[in-house]
C-alpha cells in the first residue's frame, strides 16, 4: 500500500522520477485509452483510478486536486455529472457486477477534504496577453481558469447577476447546493480572473459592443451556452399559435431560471412535463415539490432511451413522478386562456437518430386526450446564434462553425461549450472549455506548449485483494421523503461517509495498473492461469493492431507449438493480483500507466 505517487512530477522523489518512463508510442497511448475506460469516457479526461486510489489512502485533498487537474468543479460534478465514465466502468461489464460509483467518489473527495485544504496550481509566467470570455457557465469558467494558469489575463463577461450559468440557473438546489457551487467557482476564478457580472454583450442600450472587446483583448471566447428553450412543435390550429401567455403553460428552462432568479413559481394539481432530458426530470421533481399531486413525464420514445441516469429516474419515481412513453403532444385544450389538457398522438418507434437516440413516428389517427393543469415544455435548448451580429458562419445544425483550432470564422474569436456543441452535459462543457483554452493558448503563443504522453511507473505489488471484487456497490444515502418535500431545496443525495467511501473506493479495479508477463523469463507453467478469476490470461500466438497503432484482439491458441507468449489480456484483467502472487519465477510485473502532459 502507499505506492501510488502523486500524479504530478513535482512531489515525486528523485528516485521515483528515475524509475518512470515517458512514452508517446501509440501502443501505450492506445493501451491507456482502452484500459482506463472511465478516463477515456470522461470528456475532461479525469484521471479516475488515481483519484479513487487516493481516497483509499484517505488522501482526500490530494484526490480533490487530481480531479481539479481535469475539472475545476469536482464538488459540482460529483453531484450532477451525467457520468459517462460509469457507463464504461470495467466493474460494470457483463459478469463483473455494477460499475464503481465514480461520481459519488468524486463528491467524496470534495466533501471529505480538510477544511483548510491547499489548492495546487501550476502557474506559468505572465504572457501579457488578454483574453475576454463571454459567459460564466461551466465552459467559460473552465477556460478562464486554464487560460489564467497559462499566464494570460482573463476577463469574464456574464449577463446574470452571478456566475455559474446553467449550474446556478438551470439545476435545482436539491441536486446542487449553492454553497458548493459558490466555493468552487470562486476557487476557479481566484487566479486573477476578472468577473464582470450583469454585463451583457451586444449593440443595445447598456450593452457592451463586441467591437470594444476586440479592441481591448488579444482573443475572445464565446461560451454563452444554450439558454433559449426550444418551442414545442404542435399541429393544426396550434401550429402557429403562441403558447407563451397561456395560463398553465411553462417552458422548462425558463421555469427553472425564473425560479432560481427568485421568482415564485406555482403549478396546478396535474402537471404534464414534455421532454426526456435532465431538465424535464428536474422540472417534474420541482413540480412535485411545488405541490402537484400528479406529475407525469410524457416522452416520445420509451424509457429505455432517455439520456439520464437510472438513479435519477428511480428517485423521480420515488417522489411520485410517472413516465408515459410513445406519445407526442400535437395540441392543447384550453378553456379561455387556461390550459385544461393535452392532445397526444400515439407513436411507434422508428429508426435511430444521430447520437444514438430513437426516432418516434406518429401513428395517423391515433390521437387521444389527457387532462392536465400545467404543461412544462422541456424538449431542449437552443443557442441564440450571432446575437452579437458579427455574421459568424453556422454549421448545418445552426450552431457556430469552428475550425480544428477552435476558432470561428472570425479571427481571434473562439467558441466553446454548448454554444458550439448544442445542448450537452456539464462535463462536456468543462472538457470543451479546457480544450479550447489550450487552442487559444497555442494561437496566442504561436506553438503548442504541452503534449500528451503516457507515464509508466513500476509498482511493487498489487494494490488490491480479490475480496474487494465482491464488495457490492455502495448505495447513496438519500433524504427521507418528508425532508425532501419540506422546502424543496433539501439536497436529496446525502453523500457517502468515510466508511461507505472507503468500501466503494476499494471496488475500483485500478485499471491504470498494467500487468505484464516477461516473455523471456516466463516458463509457460500456467500457474497464473490456474488462479485467474476470469478468462484474462491467454496462450497467445499473435495480436491484432488497430488502425491507430494500438493493440486490438489477442489471437489465442491451444496448440503448444503456436504459443508464442502467455499474455495478460488487460481488457479482461480485473487487476486482482492473483497471478502476480502465483508466478513461481516472478516474471509478472505491474506498472502504473497514466496519460499525462509534459512541457514541450
Amino acid at each position: 500500500m502507499g505506492d501510488i505517487k502523486p500524479p504530478s512530477g513535482a512531489a515525486e522523489t528523485p528516485t521515483a522520477a528515475q524509475r518512470e518512463y515517458l512514452s508517446d508510442d501509440p501502443r501505450d497511448i492506445g493501451w491507456v485509452k482502452q484500459n482506463v475506460p472511465c478516463q477515456t469516457a470522461c470528456p475532461a479526461g479525469t484521471n479516475v483510478p488515481v483519484y479513487i486510489r487516493e481516497i483509499i489512502e484517505r488522501q482526500f485533498g490530494r484526490s480533490y486536486e487530481t480531479n481539479r487537474e481535469a475539472n475545476v468543479l469536482p464538488g459540482v460534478l460529483g453531484r450532477i455529472c451525467s457520468r459517462p465514465c460509469e457507463a464504461q466502468c470495467r466493474h460494470g461489464w457483463p459478469g463483473n457486477g455494477e460499475p464503481v460509483a465514480i461520481c459519488h467518489l468524486k463528491r467524496v473527495a470534495s466533501d471529505l477534504k480538510d477544511a483548510g485544504h491547499r489548492i495546487t496550481e501550476r502557474l506559468y509566467s505572465p504572457t501579457g496577453k488578454r483574453v475576454a470570455i463571454v459567459g460564466a457557465g461551466p465552459a467559460g469558467v473552465a477556460a478562464a481558469h486554464d487560460l489564467s494558469l497559462l499566464g494570460h489575463d482573463v476577463v469574464i463577461f456574464e449577463r446574470e447577476e452571478r456566475p455559474g450559468g446553467m449550474l446556478r440557473y438551470g439545476i435545482p438546489e436539491f441536486r446542487l447546493p449553492r454553497d458548493t457551487l459558490d466555493i468552487e467557482l470562486h476557487n476557479a476564478l481566484r487566479l486573477g480572473v476578472q468577473m464582470r457580472t450583469g454585463a451583457e454583450i451586444g449593440n443595445g442600450a447598456g450593452q457592451i459592443p463586441m467591437a470594444k472587446l476586440e479592441q481591448e483583448f488579444d482573443a475572445l471566447l464565446l461560451a454563452t451556452g444554450c439558454m433559449a428553450a426550444s418551442p414545442l412543435p404542435l399541429q393544426g390550429d396550434w401550429e402557429k399559435r403562441a403558447l407563451r401567455g397561456l395560463e398553465g403553460v411553462e417552458y422548462g428552462l425558463d421555469f427553472l431560471v425564473q425560479m432560481h432568479r427568485g421568482e415564485k413559481k406555482v403549478v396546478g394539481k396535474r402537471v404534464a412535463v414534455v421532454g426526456a432530458g435532465f431538465t424535464a426530470l428536474d422540472c417534474a421533481r420541482v413540480a412535485a415539490r411545488l405541490g402537484a399531486q400528479e406529475v407525469t413525464i410524457h416522452i416520445r420514445t420509451a424509457e429505455e432511451y432517455i439520456p439520464v441516469t437510472q438513479e435519477e429516474i428511480f428517485e423521480a419515481k420515488r417522489e411520485g413522478v410517472r413516465i408515459k412513453g410513445l406519445r407526442t403532444p400535437v395540441g392543447l385544450t384550453v378553456e379561455g386562456n387556461r390550459l385544461t389538457g393535452i392532445e397526444f398522438v400515439q407513436n411507434r418507434l422508428g429508426g435511430w437518430r444521430a447520437g444514438g437516440r430513437r426516432q418516434a413516428i406518429p401513428i395517423e389517427g391515433s390521437e387521444f386526450h389527457e387532462p392536465c393543469d400545467t404543461i412544462i415544455i422541456a424538449i431542449g435548448q437552443q443557442t441564440v446564434n450571432d446575437f452579437l451580429g458579427t455574421g459568424l458562419e453556422l454549421d448545418r445544425w445552426g450552431n457556430v462553425r469552428v475550425g480544428e483550432d477552435g476558432m470561428t470564422s472570425h479571427k481571434g474569436l473562439f467558441a466553446a461549450g454548448d454554444y458550439v456543441n448544442g445542448a450537452s452535459t456539464v462535463i462536456q462543457a468543462v472538457g470543451h472549455g479546457r480544450k479550447v483554452a489550450r487552442r487559444i493558448d497555442a494561437w496566442l503563443m504561436g506553438r503548442e506548449r504541452r503534449k500528451q504522453v503516457v507515464r509508466i511507473v513500476p509498482v511493487e505489488q498489487p494494490l488490491r485483494e480479490r475480496a474487494f471484487d465482491f464488495i457490492p456497490r455502495q448505495h447513496m444515502p438519500t433524504a427521507q421523503m418528508a425532508e425532501r418535500m419540506k422546502d424543496g431545496r433539501h439536497e436529496v443525495e446525502l453523500g457517502l461517509d468515510e466508511k461507505l467511501a472507503f468500501e466503494e473506493a476499494k471496488r475500483c479495479y485500478l485499471c491504470n495498473l498494467r500487468y505484464e508477463i516477461d516473455v523471456d523469463r516466463c516458463i509457460f507453467c500456467r500457474a497464473c492461469i490456474e488462479v485467474a478469476p476470469r478468462n484474462c490470461i491467454k496462450l497467445v500466438r499473435g495480436v491484432e493492431i488497430n488502425e491507430d497503432g494500438a493493440y486490438g484482439k489477442l489471437l489465442e491458441t491451444k496448440e503448444w507449438n503456436q504459443v508464442g507468449a502467455i499474455w495478460i489480456d488487460n481488457n479482461e484483467c480485473i487487476r486482482c493480483g492473483q497471478c502476480f502472487k502465483a508466478c513461481p519465477v516472478q516474471c509478472i510485473s505491474i506498472s502504473r500507466c497514466e496519460l499525462t502532459e509534459v512541457e514541450i
Partner: protein, 349 residues
Amino acid sequence: MATAKNARHHVVIGSGVAGSQAAETLREREPDARVTILTLSSLLFYNRYDLPKVFRGHRDWREFLAYPAEYYKDHRIEVRRCSRVAGVDGSRRAIALEHKEEIRFDTLLVASGGRGYIPEELTEYRPLMHPFSSYTEAVTAAGVVPERGHVIMLGGDMIGLDLARTLVDTRHRVTLVAGQQTFWPHEVSEDERPGLIAALEKMGVEVVEAADAGGIASIEKGARGLSARRVLFRDGTELYGDAVMPFFGLSPSVEFMLGSGVDIERGLLVNPALRTTSEGIYAAGDVCQIWSDADKRYRFFYGWKNVRAMGDLAARNIAGGAEPWVPAQDEKLHIGADGKIQSPFWEYE
C-alpha cells in the same frame, strides 16, 4: 438429441403458459425442428393460477407440474432450467446466457412474462414483503403465514384477489390496502369502483383505501409481541399482519432484450402477427405489447387464455403462418348473481 441436420432451432425464453404452449405447437407444426425452452425456473412448467393451493396445504412440487418430465423427453423439447439470459443479439441470432454460454437460434420467441411490480416508493421495503409470483415464492409465503393468520395485501391486482378468495376460504384474515392497481389489469372506472370494493368486502376481504390514509409511509418489522409486520400510513394509522404481500400488477421482464435490436416501450413491441421489430424474433404473453389497429396503439392483453392463445399463435406464425392476433377472452370484470366479483381471468380449466 436426435434432430435432422438442417432442422431449424426454435428457442423459447420462458416456460410459463405462453412459452410452454408455443413449444407444444412448434413441436406439432415442425416435427423435425429443434425446440429449446430457456427458463429461470428450477421447475418444469406449472400453472401460476394453481399457486393459491399452497395455502390449502399442497406443498409437493410434483403436484403442480402441468406435464411430467417424460412429456419433454417424448416431445423432444429441451428445457434449460435455472438459465438466465444475459442478452440477445438479434442480428447474429445468438443468445448469451449469464454463465457465458452462447446459444444460436433460427427463431426466438420471448415469452418471459412479467414479474410483480413494486412501486418505486416501496422498493426499499422489498425484503419485508412476500411476493407470490412463483412456486418458490408461494411456498415461502405460505410458510410464514400461520393458520388463521392475517395477510396484508397491497395493491390487489386480480392475481392477488384470486389468492384472497382462497385465503378467506381457508379462514385466514385478509386486509386489502387498495389503490390505483386494485383490480389490475381490469380497467375500472371511478363509477364502478365503489361497487366492486363493496363486493370484495362482502366476500370477506377487509379493505383500506390507501389514498384515504395518505398512502403508505413505511413497512416495518412488527415490534415485540405483535405480528410480524407493520404497515404505517402517512396519516399515522397502522396495520399489523403476519405477512405483507404486494400485488401491484406485473411489469414485463424485458431487461435482457435491451440492446437486442428489438423495440421496447414497456413490453416488447410486436405487430399483430406477434413479430417484434426484429425478423425472426417473436414475443407472446405478458411480455409483449401488441399493435392494435382498432385502438391505434400498442396494448397488453392479459389472462391465461389470452396468454396461451398468444403462445399458440406466435408458434404458428413462426412455423410459417401469418395470422393476426384476436383476443381469446373477454376482459370485463363484473359482479355475479351471488354478489361476488367474477373475473374472466379466474376461469380456469
